[in-house]
């Protein structure tokens, strides 16, 4: 039982890292990316390749140092992948960017599916179990602290201005191209860290761990909590990790838990599209239920 909760906690920590890193790209910079699973995969595979293929003896001698080094390697490779994907993709905007990132995410997965060194479609077994709960806490805290500081810095103000109005930001002298690429790379860097922790927790990697639905569930976390809020990302990661597990408790519900998950996704969007934290904003509940007339279209429309 303790092990079970430990496992859930580890997954929660990994999801926090994934959600808060996607939040930089999606929530703060306003770049609609649906390929986060790809960078997660790059991090997972490269760190696992380091500990199982490149330096297995050294890993056995000093596991903690090995996890640290392999995580740094994972961040490096995922960051490079983010740069490689970001430079061409970020010329696109809106829906087109979303499509292109879906495409890159799938291509990354298919490349691993055909890469024989890391087991191709057989999967990659025998990864040492190095991820412990303290390491997950350190990883998640490190991510949150770094990202929060970045967001509060001038970098954060620049990417928020890009989100609000790209053309106006450019007119004010913000180097839009540079900051977009930078935020994309920062996001993928931390997705790589999550990948490293994931690989050394699961002990086995398969390309089917990194399908499109993973990117969707990370997106769901940040949308559920409220886009552009790190507290929201943590809350969303908590719910998305815990909910499927809670639904497992009843046998019948356990059968249809993904169905319930999908329904909740739809309902959240229909009922509070601002995310759960949007509900807590001052007066928003009241506005929603009592002052509806004010938000009717027509009052705020363009002058005729």
């Amino acid at each position: 039982m303790i092990e079970y909760f430990g496992q859930i906690f580890v997954l929660f920590g990994i999801n926090v890292i994934l959600a808060s890193s996607l939040n930089v790209i999606n929530g703060y910079c306003g770049l609609f990316s649906l390929g986060h699973a790809g960078f997660f995969a790059v991090g997972a595979y490269s760190s696992a390749a380091f500990t199982t293929l490149i330096a297995p003896e050294w890993t056995a001698q000093s596991p903690h140092l090995a996890l640290l080094v392999s995580s740094l390697i994972a961040m490096g490779t995922a960051g490079i992948a983010g740069l490689a994907v970001g430079i061409p993709c970020l010329r696109l905007t809106g829906d087109y960017l979303a499509i292109a990132t879906v495409g890159f995410g799938e291509i990354i997965r298919i490349v691993f599916l055909n890469m024989d060194v890391v087991g191709a479609s057989r999967g990659m077994p025998g990864i040492p179990r190095l991820t412990t709960i303290p390491w997950v806490i350190v990883g998640a805290a490190f991510t949150l602290i770094i990202l929060n500081n970045l967001i509060k810095s001038s970098f954060g103000r620049c990417i928020k201005s890009i989100r609000e109005d790209e053309i106006a930001a450019q007119a004010m002298g913000v180097n839009v191209r540079f900051y977009k690429t930078f935020s994309f790379v920062v996001g993928s860097l931390f997705a790589g860290l999550a990948g490293s922790l994931f690989a050394h927790n699961q002990e086995f990697l398969h390309p089917s761990n990194f399908v499109f639905m993973i990117s969707v569930s990370v997106l769901l976390m940040i949308v559920l909590g409220g886009l552009g809020s790190q507290k929201g990302a943590v809350l969303g990661a908590f719910i998305v990790t815990l909910l499927p597990e809670l639904l497992r408790l009843n046998e019948f519900v356990s059968q249809i838990r993904m169905l319930v998950f999908g329904l909740i996704m739809i309902l959240v969007m229909l009922v509070f599209p601002e995310g759960l934290l949007g509900l807590l904003k001052k007066g928003s509940l009241k506005n929603k239920f009592f002052k509806k007339a004010k938000n009717e279209p027509g009052f705020s429309g363009a002058p005729l």
Partner: protein, 301 residues
């Protein structure tokens, strides 16, 4: 020999392309009107395949009656989805409908998995399949095989695309659809019944995807709940390749994609078949994001 190999791949590519085209049309019509990527569209195709299964083996319908059955059931499903999941969010920001579409996709997939089971099912042989060798039948080329199913798929797909073309270009409903894709708000002010037109668009798009579902069941002889995911993404790729929002573009993009895939499978690495679709997509997005037949959108300050 080289020529007959090439011809063989072209034949395979054309029938696969026809299936992609039927699915891609739904994506492109919905995007053209609502500017929304309907990620649940692949599930309509999967649903159509299962409805074809129900029609053919449970209800015992003949093939010609199973197609209208699929058109009606899949179309109605799409109308329901539009009414209850998408319509309340119309005019909201862009991210909410997208997430909802992904949620709808999960719900439909899981509903099918829970009710029909996750394991693949054998699709009934609706038509006797005959394989002709061109060398024997026509006496011209050796080693080129054509299945009758491939011809049926190609022929019927072109037939339904013709019907769609007629509806869009010649009927009042089609004119309303074209009006909405030009200017949604102005059409509303001009008295176009937008809700009815949008519902009709979903009906059309989903029923075409459902027909594609029957065809694929017939061609590969098996269907499974997960079949809609990759097919949906690829058909979407086809729609973007041709220029999303453009109906002839979707058909052109789908045939291009089908033939490219068949050539890659034939001459190179079949394991990279799925990567090709996305590779083409990305190259296209880099250099001509509005697609082969689309028109570039200008941003005004």
């Amino acid at each position: 020999m080289i020529f007959s190999e090439l011809l063989q791949y072209l034949i395979n590519g054309l029938s696969q392309g026809a299936v992609y085209a039927l699915i891609a049309l739904g994506y492109t019509m919905v995007y053209g009107i609502l500017k929304m990527i309907n990620f649940a569209h692949g599930e309509f195709y999967m649903f159509g395949a299962y409805m074809g299964f129900v029609g053919l083996s449970v209800l015992g319908l003949p093939f010609w009656a199973a197609i209208p059955f699929v058109i009606v059931t899949t179309g109605l499903l799409a109308v329901l989805v539009e009414r209850f999941a998408y319509r309340p969010l119309r005019g909201a920001n862009r991210i909410a409908p997208l997430i909802t579409a992904l949620g709808v996709s999960i719900v439909l997939l899981e509903l099918m998995r829970v009710t029909a089971g996750a394991q693949p099912r054998a699709f009934p042989q609706a038509l006797d399949n005959v394989t002709w060798e061109l060398g024997e039948t026509l006496g011209i080329l050796q080693d080129v095989y054509v299945q009758r199913n491939q011809l049926v798929i190609l022929g019927l797909s072109l037939f339904f695309m013709g019907i769609l073309r007629f509806i869009v270009m010649k009927t009042p409903m089609g004119r309303a659809m074209r009006a909405l894709s030009v200017d949604f708000d102005a059409s509303r002010l001009m008295g176009v019944p937008i809700n009815r037109v949008v519902a009709f668009t979903f009906f059309l798009g989903a029923s075409l995807a459902g027909i594609a579902g029957i065809f694929v069941g017939m061609y590969y002889n098996q269907i499974e709940p997960y079949m809609g995911q990759l097919a949906g993404l690829k058909a979407f790729t086809a729609a973007v390749l041709g220029g999303i929002g453009s109906i002839p573009g979707a058909v052109l993009g789908a045939f291009t994609l089908g033939i490219c895939e068949a050539l890659v499978v034939g001459y190179g690495e079949s394991s990279y078949r799925d990567a090709i679709a996305f590779g083409i997509l990305i190259v296209m997005l880099m250099f001509r994001p509005w697609g082969l037949l689309g028109t570039p959108e200008r941003v005004k300050v």
